[in-house]
Symmetry: C2
Subunit: 451 residues, 2 copies
């Protein structure tokens, strides 16, 4: 007799979704979470004026049907990201305001970006979402980095600058750090590049009133304190023919099955008995987390709106590749959100908060004019420094990894099942993918328990 049917490691969206499914199926569950809070890579914060801001993952797209259904079910509401007016692009010192599909690039640049996007879209069509390593040209797509492909396929400096800003905005990593196959998989997993990058009609369309972390909080409240244990980092997982034993700060829990719902890079740091197979262990050695510091700069009002700007900006010259309007739904104050991502995050990570703030404010001033130079507040979150995340948005696969280790990403190891946004085939890396992965892992476990 085990303590519970299933232990879930990690109280983020994936773990809590799995726990909920298992409980709904009549199974006993314990969720153990290292932090003293639930919600993983989503996190609520507040400005000094009390206005809530989101320090982690926040946007939901209308095609992210699983997380949207969960939001509705839990009684949360969404509102549209402010997306009215023109966007701004800064490139080689020139600021371009645009309201069309050009991304503010020159005609040549915009055409070239479109051509590359179409070629990448055609390549993405050839990729298998369930088993990317079996895709038609998998070996060839996987040995190349996205950076190599971009350099080999265009000599247009402006188009390259655009991709070198957009890719970190999506992956918190540089194009050289992803295999072409991983990039294509990720794009297809989300639908299209337009959906990934877009606000209205895209992955940034909706926000949750009060913040997305409430999804996890409500799931955890439903499960109750008896089920969800906080402040309990897991040290090790031992399994044998009879049971699995999960050892955490608060003791050892025995179960029939365990779902490990944390990113592969962190899952690799637990102690397993018996030791994990080489393929699974090797995967965890080479699926590093992205690098990002999310910054938010507040103003007494969303002043950019009054001049017809949406707050959306691409900065191809600076450290904050993408900026959006992140003001509260009532517009009672103005908030611009930006991200130090990839190489910029690694550099800015060694700076003081004051230096990062100054750099951010300077860039926003270039993009949105002198009013941006007088912020009323500044909040940031360095996700690389979070012990129990160690980077966002998620884990990525560099050259060669998908084809040689991909199968180990989700394949159960005895009584251990794997969940988390990194294991999703649809909306990989997103909240929606996390929910789907929790569902998938719960289904796996239920099948085992029922058999």
């Amino acid at each position: 007799m085990t303590d519970v049917d299933v232990v879930v490691v990690g109280a983020g969206l994936a773990g809590l979704t799995a726990a909920r499914r298992l409980r709904a199926a009549g199974r006993s569950v314990r969720v153990v979470e290292a932090r003293d809070r639930v919600a993983g890579r989503t996190l609520g914060g507040t400005l000094t004026n009390g206005v809530p801001v989101e320090l982690g993952g926040q946007w939901i797209g209308t095609t992210q049907t699983e997380v949207l259904a969960l939001v509705a079910e839990l009684g949360l509401t969404t509102f549209p990201t402010y997306d009215t007016g023109d966007a701004v692009t800064l490139y080689r010192g020139t600021r371009t305001r645009y309201g069309d599909e050009t991304f503010g690039l020159s005609e040549t640049g915009a055409v070239e970006v479109g051509r590359l996007r179409a070629e990448l879209a055609a390549l993405a069509e050839t990729v298998s979402l369930s088993t990317p390593w079996t895709s038609q040209a998998a070996a060839d797509l996987d040995r190349r980095t996205l950076d190599e492909w971009l350099r080999a396929n265009t000599a247009d400096a402006e188009a390259l600058a655009f991709w070198n800003a957009v890719v970190p905005a999506l992956f918190s990593a540089e194009p050289a750090e992803l295999s072409l196959l991983h990039f294509l998989f990720y794009v297809k997993s989300a639908g299209t590049l337009d959906i990934l990058v877009g606000v209205t009609g895209g992955a940034q369309e909706l926000r949750v009133v009060g913040g997305t972390h409430q999804i996890s909080e409500r799931l955890a409240a439903e499960l109750g304190d008896d089920v969800v244990t906080l402040g309990a980092p897991v040290f090790g997982i031992a399994q044998d023919a009879d049971e699995v034993r999960v050892t955490c700060a608060s003791g050892t829990i025995t179960a029939e099955r365990v779902i490990v719902a944390i990113p592969p890079a962190l899952a690799g740091r637990l102690r397993y008995e018996p030791a994990l197979p080489a393929a699974r262990d090797g995967l965890t050695q080479q699926m590093p987390m992205g690098s990002v510091i999310k910054i938010q700069v507040a103003y007494p009002a969303p002043f950019w709106r009054t001049t017809g700007l949406s707050g959306f900006a691409f900065n191809l010259d600076g450290a904050l590749s993408v900026t959006l309007d992140n003001s509260p739904p009532d517009g009672s104050c103005g908030v611009l959100v930006g991200f130090f991502e990839g190489a910029h995050a690694r550099t800015a990570g060694s700076w003081s908060v004051d230096k990062r703030k100054a750099a951010a404010v300077a860039e926003l001033t270039e993009l949105f004019g002198p009013a941006a130079a007088e912020p009323s507040d500044y909040v940031e979150r360095n996700w690389m420094a979070e012990e129990y995340t160690r980077g966002c948005y998620g884990g990525r696969l560099g050259a060669g990894v998908w084809t040689q280790y991909g199968a180990a990403l989700s394949e159960p190891v005895g009584r251990i099942h794997w969940a988390g946004a990194e294991t999703a085939t649809v909306w990989n890396g997103y909240m929606d993918g996390a929910v789907r992965s929790g569902d998938r892992a719960a289904t796996e476990v239920l099948t085992c328990l029922d058999s």
Copy 2:
């Protein structure tokens, strides 16, 4: 008052060298080792006939002066790797016997390999060994994989086949898995590519009578059982203003300083309090260990010698890229050693021992004739499956990592110092580099303790 001045984590060559230096300087030391043996990636074994064979790192080159000095000091002796006669290369089904510098390639192929080697050598000259990320063209060299460079610089299929066999032989990884900068650093760290690849005059010139693991065993014996604790995997390292606390299976040891002498991929799995800086943690997420299964096939006699073959072979068609004569010094039986490396190792790692043996024997038969089909013994070691190594020969850096995380490889974090072959600037990845890294870390610690 702490228990000891210094704790050393890991009783491989680096850790034991450091411990010895510290003791010689009058400092108290404890070495804690996860395994029930010392010597890390070196390991002794025996054939069923009692003849010793080495299951891990074994060769020493004459320019590896630090490890050679240690061997001599410890009363061990070396003997030359058998290197008399012709080598064999197999390419597209054709077996070529050669005794010159052609590697058994066609004239065109050999010239092309030479041209690429010269270009790589010239590039390697531009790399800084102490701080590769400050090298002249570091960003450009680091964003490219070695695979990209090779494909961009030759269209010769034979030359590419050669490099695609030689690179895994050196790194246990594929050319796409290394940045060009890492490859160049590694080559320069060893001297030249000829030295890296060569037997006589190269890194494979000498063997230690009885095996290289004896170096560690003698170092450990010198230190004594009071100093070296086996079977004590370290779980965590906590530090504050007063001391550092190393927690392992046998309890907690307090010290002034700790030297972590295990590969970065494994070091990242310990728990640190306070948590490690993001740059150091990020490095440990992206310095995966190589993939290798070392196989040895024994025969009643070294039959290849009688037909004037040295036992050295390149197999550009098969899974065992490189084969060498690994017979005991007295030639009382014949042993051929080969390696499943990189992609081949990942594939072969999922096979049964019997299947690997059959594949190896089939390849050796193609290379050395029908006598190879009748082995008297077979031993192997899958280093990917070793819980406390998780791959050999060592950790590698893919595209972008050196320039963005290189500084974190050796930089101490408070009371924590880092050693291990991966941190060496000379003979990085080799036993010689491990010894040098132990010396360097001991010097760092002594400087801190004396100040």
